[in-house]
Amino acid sequence: MNGAQHILEAFHRHNIQTVFGYPGGCIMPLYDALVDDVSVEHVLCRHEQGCALAADGYARASGRLGVCIATSGPGATNLITGVANAHRDSTPMLVITGQVPSSLIGTDAFQETDVLGMTLGIVKHSYLAESADELPSILEEAIELAQSGRPGPVWIDIPKDVLLAEAAVAPTCRPTPKEAACPDLTSATALLRAARKPLLYSGGGISLAHAEKSFRDFAESSGLPAVVSLKGIGNPGKHSAHNLGMLGMHGSRAANRAVDECDLLLVIGARLDDRATGKLEGFAPNARLIHIDADAAEMNKLLSTELTIRGDLNTVLRELTQVLRETPLEISEWRKQCQTWRTTGGFQAADNEEPLTPITGPAFIRQLSRIAPDDTTIACDVGQHQMWIAQYYQFDHPRHHLTSGGLGTMGFGLPAAIGAQFARPDSTVLNVTGDGSFMMNAQELATIRRYNLPVKLIIMDNQCLGMVRQQQELFYNNRECQINLDDNPDFVAMARAFDIPALKIERTDQVRRGIETILAYHGPMLLHVAIAREENVWPIVKPGGSNREMIDETRRNSADKKEKVA
């Protein structure tokens, strides 16, 4: 077996059946080996960024390893945004790139780039395979590492001669690590019992640890009022009575209020990102903090914490559930208080059912949330539409909401939806995108067509880079700059050019029909939704401001718009 065949062998051993890639010179030996392989499905995207983001979407939707492959030089550099995206959101990913032959490394050879050096800051770990003999053990280690502890992308750069060289090494199988013992939870329980207003704050770490069920059990049996980060949306489930929604910059008043007033904050699988906490000095000012996470380096990183517990979240949550079941918390006053906030300070968009009025973002998403089937997965892009999804769509599971949280990558949604559809072929997968974001990876329409994926695309078209426009309005005195997209292509015609049927709606009375039509269609379909240009996401906390200072619609900037003359 040569190096390339060893890679496929590792895929077989780890039951990796779907990979996303794009061929080229130095990775050709692997593509040659693929010709004779019957079990690995290689998905050809139309740009390496699409490959990496599709692998990311696949991993997020399935909870399994995402794999992407590219050639050296431009292939590798094109992957970078997607790998950085995975790194920031801790997606388990294996990245394989071809490199120029060993003897040519360092000679500025054709399509040589220093991949190892260039990617150090966006990987969990990386390797340069120096010989075919070491490749099998590198692959084993990389696959394990990408998925263990706090997951992340692991990159293997492989010179072409290493892919071609014969290696006799028998494939290694590493022993699976033993289940870790549960850390001591006595102090945590004592703090919880001493608190009068305890609050649960969870994030993306729950699904990364595959702890969705343990979390749900804990949340239910503890009856703790709960807030979530952007990545934690779906953790409490859509029927949870205690869920106050997302906290932070575009969070609900209820969630931010509860954080402000709580006397104990139990943070599980979240890293206290600045978009969630706002200005740290004003964050949870009355609370003691307990931080439970898989990554020790997150502890005390930004806020000093009363108690840190590092461990497997599944184990910890099960144990905590047990303890609280035996003696429940007595916090009915606080629960009642949070309930009141929940009814007055949640996201209840008035549905604008006036039939002939323009469509508004929040009302559209609410309608979508009511109509779409329960197991729908939504991959969003970045901007106002992303926040409306976070605010108004009722998710029942964190893996149903795919969003680029840490990096905020415009162009994430379409390839991520492709990956998600491969991961969950029988479920409804939607890409909800903006007119700006859609154009960042629009080439992947060709991938949807080629594999006849029934992905539904919804473009919320406000003819501008809405999120930037909003901040220019509110924080730059309405001085609009480079956000205008009123010369967008005809999205319907564009989809049709890829042989994807499409439909445009612009009035409220067309919303229901529009959504029902695309959902009922058996193949891919695009819905172009024209919405008002001037709409904002409310509430909003000024970047760097405290979550206590939420700005709402009454503070719109009516200053005359100033645009640069062309």
């Binding site: 190892l116 150090l120 800051g121 120096e130 020790a296 930004l302």
Partner: protein, 94 residues
Amino acid sequence: MTTESCNSTPDYTIACRMNHEAAALERLCQVVRIRGFRIAKMAVETQDGVLDIALTVQGTRPVTMLQSQLEKLHTVEEVILTTPVLAPATSRTA
């Protein structure tokens, strides 16, 4: 590698052991920089595929944060702070 030590920011000395793999030192230096420290002095010895690194770094952030980020590197075996760590500041923000 030596640069002049500046007086305003504290110095910390760190002993670090890591595997001698491709890009090992770059990986280490990159973490030091991105987490807010400057390398003022660095000595490296290699033995049986292991690097022994003595580092002096300068920075105003808590050095224990740098320690935990270095420990997170897959090929790092051990990170020891050889200067005593000052008691943490009373402020809640790290």
